[in-house]
């Protein structure tokens, strides 16, 4: 509630002083405190109230996007790293001032673009043509656009954060800036609890565990799922770090890369895996399921009808999913001559 009042007061204040002078360090700090991760949001139209005018503090601005329409994988990587960078700074400097020299302040801002149709003004003003970009607005300047580009290091994770910190230290001559890695207690706790539960269950129900361990069904399903994952191209996703899905030229989301035979989205593996799984299940049902069903109805008059209808149903399913598979494959290769006719197209 308090925060809410603060912010509304702040907006009114900033509206009043619009264009006249920029925020001083204290109000920048307030602006930063608005979000839980201490990053000032400058995506909006009123970003100039924060950035323009004379500044006492250094401000680092990240231009980025998390929208799938841009398909920017580096942006996604940078997202958490930027947060780590910011939290490292605020961990030691809750008031954003350098301890060695309290004149020197450092703040962090972020500008996000949501869609290619709607690009925020700040991107145009700074002349951003590529994302992600890092601009450092140095202290002591009056011109907002007087900024220098900070190179994004090629490493990953904490190494990149470290490199960024070094670059910032030399650019701003701030000396006390250290990396603080956040320990992810959540995952540790989850692992510990789940291990405990599993061990406990195993101890308590040893016979179920041994039954599962000896069950052909369990092993069969496990290995078959593994195989389906592999032939669905899972390793490709893992090695190439593919995106979940992409966008076409008009900005629509697409799930299959058209006409690209040697490439795929991660979601393709899931779709194809499901298709393979259903097809395999149908074949298994046909081979052993239906005869077993027949055994159940032994002596019953309806036996042959039940058998016949279920087997025809299975064959139909196989056809449908196989047709879907060839359809998708045709999408990928283009000009595949042996596509199966879709059943639905018969009714047109």
């Amino acid at each position: 509630m308090k925060l809410c009042i603060y912010s509304s007061v702040l907006t009114i204040l900033s509206l009043c002083t619009f264009g006249a002078l920029a925020l001083d360090n204290a109000s920048l700090l307030k602006e930063a405190r608005k979000s839980s991760d201490n990053i000032i949001n400058v995506s909006g139209k009123d970003y100039e109230t924060i950035l323009s005018g004379h500044r006492d503090a250094n401000i680092l601005v990240l231009f980025t996007s998390n929208s799938p329409q841009f398909g920017c994988s580096l942006c996604a990587e940078l997202e958490s790293e930027y947060e780590a960078l910011v939290s490292s700074w605020f961990h030691d400097h809750p008031d954003a001032l350098s301890k060695d020299d309290s004149e020197k302040a450092l703040f962090f801002a972020k500008a996000m673009v949501k869609s290619p149709q709607n690009i925020p003004k700040i991107f145009a003003d700074f002349g951003i043509e590529q994302i992600p970009r890092l601009h450092l607005l140095k202290a002591g300047s009056n011109n907002m656009l007087d900024s220098e580009i900070v190179d994004i290091p090629a490493d990953k994770d904490i190494a990149r954060v470290q490199h960024l910190i070094n670059a910032l230290k030399s650019a701003t001559s701030i000396t006390d800036f250290e990396v603080h890695e956040k320990v992810n207690w959540g995952s540790t706790i989850i692992t510990a609890v789940s291990v405990f539960i599993i061990v406990f269950l195993l101890k308590k129900h040893t016979y179920i565990a041994t039954y599962l361990l000896n069950s052909r069904l369990v092993w069969g399903v496990l290995s078959v799922s593994f195989i389906i994952l592999m032939i669905g191209g899972h390793m490709f996703n893992k090695i190439r770090n593919t995106m979940l899905a992409g966008t076409s030229k008009n900005g629509e989301i697409i799930y299959f890369i058209p006409n690209d035979f040697q490439n795929q989205f991660a979601i393709e593996t899931q779709a194809i895996g499901v298709v393979y799984g259903i097809l395999a299940t149908m074949v298994v049902t046909l081979a052993i399921g239906i005869p077993k069903l027949g055994e159940l109805y032994k002596g019953n008059k309806r036996r042959s009808v039940v058998e016949a209808s279920f087997s025809i149903l299975c064959a139909l399913f196989v056809y449908m999913f196989f047709a879907a598979l060839t359809y998708v494959f045709n999408l990928k290769t283009g000009g595949y001559p042996f596509q199966l006719l879709k059943i639905s197209s018969l009714f047109h």
Partner: protein, 698 residues
Amino acid sequence: MSIFGAAVSARLFSVIRFESIIHEFDPWFNFRATKYLINNSFYDFLNWFDDRTWYPLGRVTGGTLYPGLMTTSALIWHTLRKIGLPIDIRNICVLFAPAFSGVTAIATYYLTKEIKDSSAGVLAAAFIAIVPGYISRSVAGAYDNEAIAITLLMVTFMFWIKGQKTGSILYSSFAALFYFYMVSAWGGYVFITNLIPFHIFLLILMGRFTSKLYVAYNTWFIIGTVASMQIPFVGFLPIRSNDHMAALGVFGLLQIVALGDFVKSKLPPRKFKIVMIVSLLIILAIGIAGLFLLTYMGLIAPWTGRFYSLWDTSYAKIHIPIIASVSEHQPVAWPAFFFDTHFLIWLFPAGVFLLFMDLKDEHVFIIAYSVLCSYFAGVMVRLMLTLTPVICITAAVALSKVFDVYLDFSSAIDPQRRNLTSLLSRLIVSGTFIFYLYLFVFHCTWVTQTAYSSPSVVLPSTSPDGSMALIDDFREAYYWLRMNTDEDAKVAAWWDYGYQIGGMADRTTLVDNNTWNNTHIAIVGKAMASPEEKAYEILKEHDVDYVLVIFGGLIGFGGDDLNKFLWMIRISEGIWPDEIKERDFFTPEGEYRVDSRASKTMKESIMYKMSFKDFPILFNGGQAVDKVRQQAISLEDVGTLDYFDEVFTSENWMVRIYQLKEDDPEGRSLKEVGDFERAKGKLTKKRKITKPDLTLRV
């Protein structure tokens, strides 16, 4: 028999569409080695020191190759000659792979017969005969180790299954013999070395140890290992490298289990349990400690790089870029699986599951094979080849199980139990599956025809009126080299073309596709990336007479040297980081350009000059557009070439050969000579250049 016929004929597309010619790169080396073998004795072959490659180092070829392929074809050649059928060795080599794929089909039949029954066997054989995944490596002309290796893989597995089923020493010895043959033919034998022990290990875990297993495995392991050590390239690896430790470990384990089995029969159960636990712990501790100690002391070699890159998929990227750069080692996206196996790919998991329902000893083998290999194939595209046979086997099992139920029309024939609904359902189910089979045949023919029958030495292209034209520049150039240069002339070209120059032009090369010496490759890369004076110096130091570059800019051939240029730069940068810098070859904006905006270093490199020499003149003042990179080259971009003479350019400009000039008799540097001549206006017009007319060719 008819399957054999189909298997062979499906692979002959390439011969019909092109001609009887060896394909790609590696087969050219195998072909050259085979020729050497039939002209010399076997011992000469094993001791063959090849001084015509890797000049001036040479290569100990006899000790660094797998001789199985060459000896087999030499044997066929000798036999045919003895019975009065002298056939050109080239034809044997070209038709080698199709013939052996016929044998593969037969072996697969017997293997699947052991797994289920003969009807599944027939299906599996039919599948393997025409499945594109296997055809990809066994078309006529693909004279490579893989061509014979898959055959041997199937034969070995067949004998192994028979051996472990019956406990027969005869069959296991056969398995070992064919394993030996496999070791002599392909580096992928390690797969068998690990799969068979893994099978045994699983069976022991499942409590299925029998004396049959004991006999079969020991026979196979001892004979197989001792025999495989006879191959010079393998040598003592089987007892030293970690790749082979699993086999050794299971061998030891089997002895312990056998002993335990014996003790169990003599002791009361309770005492036995204690004995077992204690001894197991001790053995485990000693084993692991021993392994670490031996590896630490350097007695056992650690795992090989390729093996690491299979498990830790990012390993190769970081540590061995040369493995990561090879296109055969890339991961596979799902369409490739479907492309290579069509509807077998979804019968495959169904088949594995159905095998689980029976789960006899031999089924465990097939399941282990499928699970492991599907992982490997997903990681590396070349291992698709080893997955394909098991896909065929399991798919055949699944399909024949379906057919067992639905092709059984006995009830329909029997008048008393005639049942229309049941008949109808049977007809529909079996009908759809027969339809898929029919579709499968069409798919395979289509894939083989479109994707896997191109020799890559001769390129197919379509002329504007739609008819097929062949671009035969490579052979034209290699033939020119053969006829117009000294017999011991040294040719510098990028390593991709080393085997082909050796095989077709019969000239000495600096580097070739057996990339054993990275530094030597880097020397060639450095020469290509250096400016004239420096390149001339480097090449003279290595006695080079001719430089060969591949240029695809005129006809749009994407795999040319300018596109591989970055790899040359990177590899030489790895050795001389001070002299060659990748950054210098890019524009200030970080683009790889060859037009007027190209960087100075780029334009000065001999690769650039040699590729584009006279290229703009060809267009008579019009815009000279490089069709591969879609950039326009103007006359001013291409600098003068004073140290090299253009001696040959092939019809479509794909291969350009330059000769190193002799030193000037007056002691001037060649640059000064060039400047002087230019000042006199002597060099302004040279040969008449005509643009090749692509439309007229048929």
